[in-house]
Symmetry: D4
Subunit: 217 residues, 8 copies
Amino acid sequence: HRRGIPEGILAEGKTPEEVRDLAEAAVETTGRALVTRADETHRETVESTFTPTAATVSVDDRAGTITVTSEAFEEPSLAAAVCIITGGTSDYPVAGEAGAVVEAVGADCTVIQDIGVANIDRLFDQLAEIRAADVVIAVAGREAALPTVVAGQVDGPVIGVPVSTGYGHGGDGEAALGGLLQSCTALSVVNVDAGFTAGVQAALIARAVDEAAESRK
Amino acid sequence: HRRGIPEGILAEGKTPEEVRDLAEAAVETTGRALVTRADETHRETVESTFTPTAATVSVDDRAGTITVTSEAFEEPSLAAAVCIITGGTSDYPVAGEAGAVVEAVGADCTVIQDIGVANIDRLFDQLAEIRAADVVIAVAGREAALPTVVAGQVDGPVIGVPVSTGYGHGGDGEAALGGLLQSCTALSVVNVDAGFTAGVQAALIARAVDEAAESRK
Amino acid sequence: HRRGIPEGILAEGKTPEEVRDLAEAAVETTGRALVTRADETHRETVESTFTPTAATVSVDDRAGTITVTSEAFEEPSLAAAVCIITGGTSDYPVAGEAGAVVEAVGADCTVIQDIGVANIDRLFDQLAEIRAADVVIAVAGREAALPTVVAGQVDGPVIGVPVSTGYGHGGDGEAALGGLLQSCTALSVVNVDAGFTAGVQAALIARAVDEAAESRK
Amino acid sequence: HRRGIPEGILAEGKTPEEVRDLAEAAVETTGRALVTRADETHRETVESTFTPTAATVSVDDRAGTITVTSEAFEEPSLAAAVCIITGGTSDYPVAGEAGAVVEAVGADCTVIQDIGVANIDRLFDQLAEIRAADVVIAVAGREAALPTVVAGQVDGPVIGVPVSTGYGHGGDGEAALGGLLQSCTALSVVNVDAGFTAGVQAALIARAVDEAAESRK
Amino acid sequence: HRRGIPEGILAEGKTPEEVRDLAEAAVETTGRALVTRADETHRETVESTFTPTAATVSVDDRAGTITVTSEAFEEPSLAAAVCIITGGTSDYPVAGEAGAVVEAVGADCTVIQDIGVANIDRLFDQLAEIRAADVVIAVAGREAALPTVVAGQVDGPVIGVPVSTGYGHGGDGEAALGGLLQSCTALSVVNVDAGFTAGVQAALIARAVDEAAESRK
Amino acid sequence: HRRGIPEGILAEGKTPEEVRDLAEAAVETTGRALVTRADETHRETVESTFTPTAATVSVDDRAGTITVTSEAFEEPSLAAAVCIITGGTSDYPVAGEAGAVVEAVGADCTVIQDIGVANIDRLFDQLAEIRAADVVIAVAGREAALPTVVAGQVDGPVIGVPVSTGYGHGGDGEAALGGLLQSCTALSVVNVDAGFTAGVQAALIARAVDEAAESRK
Amino acid sequence: HRRGIPEGILAEGKTPEEVRDLAEAAVETTGRALVTRADETHRETVESTFTPTAATVSVDDRAGTITVTSEAFEEPSLAAAVCIITGGTSDYPVAGEAGAVVEAVGADCTVIQDIGVANIDRLFDQLAEIRAADVVIAVAGREAALPTVVAGQVDGPVIGVPVSTGYGHGGDGEAALGGLLQSCTALSVVNVDAGFTAGVQAALIARAVDEAAESRK
Amino acid sequence: HRRGIPEGILAEGKTPEEVRDLAEAAVETTGRALVTRADETHRETVESTFTPTAATVSVDDRAGTITVTSEAFEEPSLAAAVCIITGGTSDYPVAGEAGAVVEAVGADCTVIQDIGVANIDRLFDQLAEIRAADVVIAVAGREAALPTVVAGQVDGPVIGVPVSTGYGHGGDGEAALGGLLQSCTALSVVNVDAGFTAGVQAALIARAVDEAAESRK
Ligand SMILES: Nc1ncnc2c1ncn2[C@@H]1O[C@H](COP(=O)(O)O)[C@@H](O)[C@H]1O
Ligand SMILES: Nc1ncnc2c1ncn2[C@@H]1O[C@H](COP(=O)(O)O)[C@@H](O)[C@H]1O
Ligand SMILES: Nc1ncnc2c1ncn2[C@@H]1O[C@H](COP(=O)(O)O)[C@@H](O)[C@H]1O
Ligand SMILES: Nc1ncnc2c1ncn2[C@@H]1O[C@H](COP(=O)(O)O)[C@@H](O)[C@H]1O
Ligand SMILES: [Mg+2]
Ligand SMILES: [Mg+2]
Ligand SMILES: [Mg+2]
Ligand SMILES: [Mg+2]
Ligand SMILES: [Mg+2]
Ligand SMILES: [Mg+2]
Ligand SMILES: [Mg+2]
Ligand SMILES: [Mg+2]
């Protein structure tokens, strides 16, 4: 509902018809809809609902997102940059969900994958690019050391996102969440696998940055 | 170590002498020190260490913070506003810890207390002031409904801080933490009682806002 | 077994035949039966068991309830009103289960959906109707702020029902349960997804209210 | 704040002066104050604050409650009865806290102690008296079987209060809480040791009962 | 391996072939085998393995047990009685598993079902029969009040078995386990759903009773 | 209350006066009293209450028990033997509490200490003595491997008692409790540090053994 | 990446194609690949990828491992011995995963199965062989007493691996993990079911042993 | 008891006299004793027990260790190096406890403090020294990212030790423990604050390394 932030529709636990109805309502009232955690049945129903002449439907299979944008909708653009980083390939779905929000608000969005601390050189190679962003979203599973290490290397705010890709004690994301909450470098945190929430928080910061620039021009 | 953000020295679990040594080192190298979770013995030792001609020592008893600033230190100033709100009076120590960081970076800092949802009118009375901030820190214990409700009313980023002032199941801050992580309005979160971390995160956002304004002037 | 409160038959974990036998016995001895958490196989078996001339079978698919009432059964009626409110559409099954009990005892039953605190205006729009009830059942998942906020606005007893519709830390209803137990406004609580229990508790209060009126007439 | 329900002031974690100030404010605005979880220092300060000519201070040492009533205050009276039962003597403080609220609203309040299920005959001896109440508060620690057994024997609503008087696994009240939430007889529940909350909930039901009688007279 | 106690073969997590091999080995070396938690595939394979002339295979579908006894095996008989009681019908599988062990050692075995505390009269009706046993196994899910109540009524040892048939907080048997460990009447306890372990423990007590009688004859 | 089993009075959380009153009542009605978890203040008060001519008071400081026996009381004697074993010296208080019950019922009671599995030879040296008992109580902290190993070596029932003497993850007795519940040799279990409960359960078995012998003489 | 230790590719949660690509890359850059937690679809795709002339693919179905070795790869050989022991047959998959790593580094690898403490003689029969190893990996589920007992009998380092093959409280490997962390004999531990991690740790120790021998020759 | 590894005596929970007796026995039978978690009262009693002519007593106040060595004892010496690293100063007590064991077995022992990942340059500055060791003990609290990062940089085995120096969710060492068990670089782990266990495990590896060198000389 807020200026620029798309309404998120959580498909999980809803029928394709319920998701479709909610998406239609959102497009009608706000010009677009962002469906998250969608499976194939949700995708098929949503894709067949919107005619290409009236709306663009873009889908990210791995991230489980569907973005619907009406023709009339005027894409926003923010003078602010968000960098999303991940520890490993299995973190992609969560990172992609965050990215869908960041792109929807029109911020600059860079995604840098597979820079977990096991091979820390890959991380240091990318530091300049990461530091260039106004806000960083760091997505990591297992022990989630990446957000902690990165927050010690950059000057802007870092949002840590724990991921549930491990097994054994803490493998459901609880070890990652606990580690992020205890981080010795200052982070703010969202829930396990909550890419959407991280994306909104980053988008709100990006908007604050953009507005500051605007209001002083 | 970062430009403008003071080094935090966690007094809890350290002797007064250890805290004093760390504070002296910080003042020498960075011009100031911020001690958190200090008790009376820490305060006495730190206060008697710094001569009034060389440094200013300011203490917040309820928040457990000690801020030491050398004469030579040039106070920073950021063109950004942070609003810290609390549900009840027992949330003050955590809010005060956050406030010490926000003030140290030179952001505008407003503290609004006792606006928990039990008497929701008090919250609505303050909404205009809260909305005026670039970033909100919402501090709350027990069920911590306040940050969730506020995040639905303001357009900027909200950082939720769970507080450990309840009793019974979840009274150690776990109920508040769980509620903030599950918030149906998008929040980012820090650990239970982690006013310092929330303050740093808000300060980093304030700096990003300030920099945006600067770089486009 | 108690006057007016239907015997609940939990279908989950039982075969259709077991559920049918229990339902037949309940109808025979008490005039009706209330099956909860029924799936399609339970429904089919129960529906084909009772002939329309002997009993009415009414089904709520989304709530998973089946109510069987023998022709001979004299519907009770209580001079008391229960209002059931929900935070979002995924809370409906639990609310519906509670409603089935409340209706079975003959209390006035109003259901108001989708008034979660993210859009708090919708809640305030309904306050007059909610306040008119003798007892409120507030059903909510995720952080479950709704029951806390409502209990601060109404003068009667509120029963909070946590729902298991989240994901990540506390998403199985534990965050909602913890929040309700810690509520800074006084609530009583039932277990996660326990619509039936909430319904019975509200029904018992409704009956006490009704009896008070009766006995003093 | 609500008609008849006293404002609760949780003394735990507050200084005697803070409690005194809150109590004075409550007496001034509402005619009385109910302090809970008060220790000796709170009691001394509160008792020496109110002059006997202006207010009555009544203290329950074991329950940790202090009730202050101004001379001008008109004691309410409700045509409704609450029965508070306990499993053992160590449950008294929690029961007493509940009782202070129930008495403050002017409901009939009976307390029956030491009727835990280990000697179930004592419970059955008291059943007639328990059944006479409009609402029952059942307070129990350890495995908390008492509320479950009682709810199967009475026709009115039962509120279960788990108590933290055990040791070992679940001895902090978690076993009692879990058992009450899983009760095979329908209960509503409050948090561990939350006598105040149970008292308020019972008081709200008592008021609903009283109002029903009134409005139909 | 011990005199009279059959070797238990846990089928869960094993292929039918693995179970068959273990059963054949057990029958060969000890004259019989007791398979627990068997599904249909295990049953079919085991049943088709043993020819009726060489061994008797008896199956309890609801309990998931398969008992194989070679023709040559001499059934033991103990002068001791075990009574197994359950709270509700969904406790049967666990009770049946316990019963299979008790019968295998040749103790007297009585099973009394559906005497949970919700309808406490049914329990009191059976007390004489329960008291006649040398040892009682009390099987119960949800809040598991039954073993606590029974242990207060009988003079012999009671073994409590928590069952995982609830839902919500503690519904996986943890509430029942916690309640049994905290029981205010003295019980010993086995793990959630561990009918086999309870059966062995009761069998060992039965054997001790039998031996005492023998050795003093 | 049962024949031969002394009433346990848990001193923890009670004042010396409350304990004294309960002890006097127990001695008067049953001829004796067993106080557990008593500290020095409880001991002093109880010792000074009973005059040596009227009752014997025997105290076990390390176990925290006080046994009071009136002159008139006829000590029971059971033809059954209980063996209590411990892993290390810090398990003594729990073992001693169990022993006080076993001795009070008049069973043969042997205590064998410090035979934890770290030095497994000490355990095997004592096996003959352990096997001679009708029932074994095995008390162990940390990982509690002792009861599991012993239950594989003896033919009678073994009751495992977890002890809270560790530190770190599971050091509060939870690791020991979990291990005993999962034991691959069949054990029954009591709560963490619940020496009293283990003693009662062993005493009930001892009595069943004794009665069997009696009734068949 | 390190000399001799194969890169592990966790198949769980990856598509067959993703696993194949990672395996091809690993074989190309390091001469081999070790896939863990592979199911049938992973196996089929990997097996059909590598032509027998270019690489050897060896599969362990029960352990879920696939080892691919290019023709050109020169098998390492370490002068060090690892012994892997298990409590029961259901521990094999975890032991096999560990073994695949140990064999890949060229250490001597002995696997001894089914020597759990229920039948402790089998364990003592194998002690000489276990003691001959430089490092022991002890794999056990349920209460996991085996690693504790073995660490008291051998002079080298023991790595304990908890396994998730139980049911009820702690049956997901948490009881085993807690027991290993609390072991009264000194162990180091890896996560539940983490055969791969245990294998790598043992391999690193084996290499240190081998290097010590080399460097002093 | 094993060759070279001193017997550890845990002082916590023991009286000074008990510790003294155990220490005397250990010195008499093995030539030395290592007391851990000792407070001032333990230290005073132990120090006054051993006369300087008969034994050397060396104390580490911060680590809480006391090492007693008889004159006759021949100090062992191992050709192997252990490096102990810590994240921050509050980790020292745990590191010192580990160091006491490593030094007692005569291995080379280096301690490098305060190289937590917040300032990762300090860690990289020390890498050459860390890599020179045969085995690394990495001690860290809060999120414990240090062991994970280090294990990715060195070729030998790393033992991670979680420390309980945080606050809030996971601050009792559980977040650190969870992170180490989930580490994406292979670690073995000991319990929270278990410096002694880590020291023994490193000592056993050091001895295996030393023996390998010896046996091939
Ligand atoms: N109250 C606090 N809560 C959380 N972190 C803190 C706090 N105060 C200081 N810190 C952080 O802890 C680090 C210092 O830890 P230490 O070396 O133990 O003094 C600083 O770099 C801060 O980032
Ligand atoms: N013993 C108690 N347990 C739970 N809630 C309480 C208790 N005493 C007072 N309260 C509630 O806590 C609120 C006051 O909290 P506070 O502002 O911290 O004094 C009151 O409005 C009461 O609803
Ligand atoms: N150490 C103990 N652990 C567990 N239960 C105990 C203990 N001592 C006494 N009890 C039990 O607690 C009951 C007494 O509780 P109370 O009424 O609080 O004194 C007795 O009937 C005993 O069954
Ligand atoms: N079964 C396993 N358990 C734990 N870690 C594993 C396992 N198999 C592979 N790994 C580790 O996981 C990393 C691969 O993770 P990924 O990038 O998700 O394939 C490897 O570098 C290994 O260190
Ligand atoms: Mg940073
Ligand atoms: Mg907002
Ligand atoms: Mg209200
Ligand atoms: Mg009832
Ligand atoms: Mg009994
Ligand atoms: Mg045995
Ligand atoms: Mg060993
Ligand atoms: Mg490494």
